[in-house]
C-alpha cells in the first residue's frame, strides 16, 4: 500500500493521506513516549527495589505520564528576564522537529513505512544532527551559566559521536551496497548484521547512547554537576518539548538499531508465522530495555574522558572495522 502511495502522482489527496498518516504516527509516537517514560520509571524502580509509579491509573500507574504532561501543560510558562526571548522560544522547536522528521525513513515492516529514499541512513544521520543546534540555542538563550555549559557540552559530545556513529555503519553499507534502510533489512535474510558486524554494533550502540544523551553519557544535563544542564531555565510546556525530543529520539534510535543490526521485521528461523510487526516490536523493546538498563547501572563519564573515548577509541575502532569489512568482503565474497 505504501509503495503504491509513494509512487503515485503528487496530489492533494495524496498529501491529505500522508498528512493524516503523519498525524497518526505522531500520536503513536506520543503514545510510545508516554509509555516509554512509564516503562523507564517502572524498570528503574524495580531494579532499585521499589515499585515506581503506582498511584495514578491503577496499580501500574498507567496514567502517571499523562498526569505529568497535563501538569506541564498547565504550568506557568516562565522566560527569564535576561534571556534571549526569540531564541529561547525557538530552541525547543528546533530540537523537537528533526526528532520527528527522522521517523519518516524508518521502515517498521516491509509494508509500513513513510518514505523509501535511497539515502535513508544518510538522511537520518544528517537530520538528527540538527537537534544539537536546538540544544545549543536553548543553552545560550537561557542566559544561564549552567545552561551554557550544558549546551557546549552537548555540542561537543554530539558532534564527536556522530563520526564514529557514521563510521560504524559504513561496514554495513559496504556489505549491502545501499543506504536504503529497506534494502539493509532485506540484506539481513542470511543473518543479522549483529552477527556479521559485532564490532560495528558495539561502536554504534555506544555512539547511539551518547547521541541520545543518556546515562552514562548524559553530560549535557548532568544533574549533579550542572543542575539540569541546557534546559535549566525551561519549564512547563517548553521543557516538555525537550523531554519529548529526547524520547522521540530514543524511539527513533531504537528503531534504527533494530533495522540495521537486528534484522528489522525479519523473524527468527522457524518462527516466520509471527507477523513482522510483532518481531519489530519485540526487538525494539529489547533495545529500549538495554538503554534503560544502562541508565540504572552506570555512573556518568567525565567530559574530557568522553571526548578522549570518542576520538581515541571509538573512531579508530570504527575505521579498523571498515578496513576489516572491506578485506573480508573481498576475500570471502559472501555478499
Amino acid at each position: 500500500m505504501m509503495e503504491g502511495l509513494l509512487a503515485a502522482e503528487a496530489s492533494w489527496l495524496n498529501f491529505g493521506i500522508f498528512f493524516l498518516l503523519a498525524v497518526v504516527l505522531l500520536f503513536v509516537v506520543l503514545g510510545f513516549v508516554t509509555y516509554a517514560i512509564l516503562a523507564e520509571r517502572k524498570v528503574m524502580g524495580f531494579m532499585q527495589l521499589r515499585y515506581g509509579p503506582n498511584q495514578v491509573g491503577g496499580r501500574f500507574g498507567l496514567l502517571q505520564t499523562v498526569a505529568d504532561v497535563l501538569k506541564l501543560l498547565i504550568k506557568e510558562d516562565t522566560i527569564p528576564k535576561l534571556a534571549d526571548r526569540p531564541l529561547f522560544i525557538l530552541a525547543p522547536v528546533i530540537a523537537f522537529t528533526p526528532a520527528f522528521m527522522v521517523l519518516a525513513v524508518i521502515p517498521f515492516t516491509d509494508k509500513f513505512y513513510f518514505a523509501d529514499i535511497g539515502v535513508g541512513l544518510l538522511y537520518y544521520i544528517a537530520i538528527s544532527g540538527l537537534t544539537t543546534i536546538g540544544i545549543v540555542t536553548g543553552g545560550w538563550a537561557s542566559n544561564n551559566k549552567y545552561a551554557l555549559m550544558g549546551g557546549m557540552r552537548a555540542a561537543a559530545q554530539m558532534i564527536s559521536y556522530e563520526i564514529p556513529l557514521v563510521m560504524s555503519v559504513i561496514g554495513i553499507i559496504l556489505l549491502t551496497g545501499s543506504l536504503n534502510l529497506n534494502d539493509i533489512v532485506e540484506a539481513q535474510k542470511n543473518g543479522w548484521f549483529i552477527i556479521w558486524q559485532p564490532i560495528a554494533f558495539i561502536v554504534f550502540l555506544i555512539a547511539a547512547v551518547a547521541e541520545l544523551n543518556r546515562v552514562p553519557f548524559d553530560l549535557p544535563e548532568a544533574e549533579s554537576e550542572l543542575v539540569a544542564g541546557f534546559h535549566v531555565e525551561y519549564s512547563g510546556f517548553r521543557w516538555a518539548f525537550f523531554m519529548l525530543a529526547e524520547y522521540v529520539y530514543m524511539f527513533a534510535m531504537a528503531s534504527l538499531i533494530t533495522v540495521i543490526f537486528l534484522g528489522g521485521w525479519l523473524p527468527l528461523p522457524f518462527l516466520g508465522f509471527i507477523p513482522g510487526a510483532v518481531w519489530f516490536a519485540l526487538k525494539f523493546t529489547v533495545v529500549i530495555f538495554i538503554l534503560i538498563w544502562f541508565r540504572v547501572t552506570f555512573p556518568r563519564i567525565r567530559a574530557d574522558q568522553l571526548m578522549e573515548f570518542g576520538w581515541k577509541v571509538l573512531l579508530p575502532v570504527a575505521l579498523a572495522n571498515i578496513f576489516l569489512t572491506a578485506i573480508l568482503k573481498e576475500l570471502l565474497n559472501i555478499f
Binding site: V43, M47, L49, R50, W293, T297
Partner: protein, 139 residues
C-alpha cells in the same frame, strides 16, 4: 568491560527481588514502641512540678497550675498546658523527668498543618491525643 558487565548482572538480579518500599499513607508505618512522637498529656496525673518545662531544651512547654479545688487536698492541679510544636524537637526529655508519667510519648508523628498557629497544641488537644500510646516510658 568486565566491571560494567558485573554491574549489569547485579542490577538485573535485583529486578525480581522483593521490593522494600512502604505503602506509607495507605498503611501506617511500623514503628517501635519507643518511638518518640507527639506527646499525650494526662491532666489528672500532673502535679504541676514544672520539671518538664524546666528540662525542655527549646522551652516549648508552658504550663500553669492552680490550687486544688478540694480544700482537704494539698498540692496543685494543672490549669493550662501548652506545647509549641513549632519548636518542639521531640527529644523525650519531658517524659523522662516526669515523676508521674503525666506526659508520655505516642507513636503519632504527623504534624503537618496549614498554619503555624495550629502547631500550638493545648491541654485539651494533648489530652485527646490518645492513640498509639507508648507502653514503656521509663528505662
Amino acid at each position: 568491560m568486565l566491571g560494567l558487565a558485573k554491574g549489569l548482572t547485579y542490577t538485573l538480579k535485583n529486578l525480581t527481588r522483593k521490593k522494600l518500599t512502604y505503602d506509607y499513607p495507605h498503611e501506617p508505618l511500623p514503628l517501635p514502641d519507643r518511638f518518640r512522637g507527639i506527646q499525650k498529656f494526662y491532666p489528672e496525673k500532673c502535679i504541676v512540678c514544672n520539671q518538664c518545662a524546666n528540662i525542655c531544651p527549646t522551652d516549648c512547654i508552658q504550663l500553669t497550675g492552680k490550687k486544688h479545688p478540694d480544700p482537704n487536698k494539698r498540692g496543685k492541679i494543672i490549669e493550662t498546658y501548652d506545647i509549641n510544636f513549632e519548636i518542639c524537637i521531640l527529644c523525650d526529655l519531658c517524659t523522662e523527668v516526669c515523676p508521674t508519667e503525666a506526659v508520655i510519648m505516642t507513636n503519632n508523628f504527623e504534624l503537618a498543618e496549614y498554619s503555624r498557629d495550629e502547631l500550638f497544641k493545648d491541654l485539651v488537644w494533648l489530652d485527646e491525643n490518645d492513640e498509639n500510646l507508648r507502653k514503656v516510658n521509663k528505662a
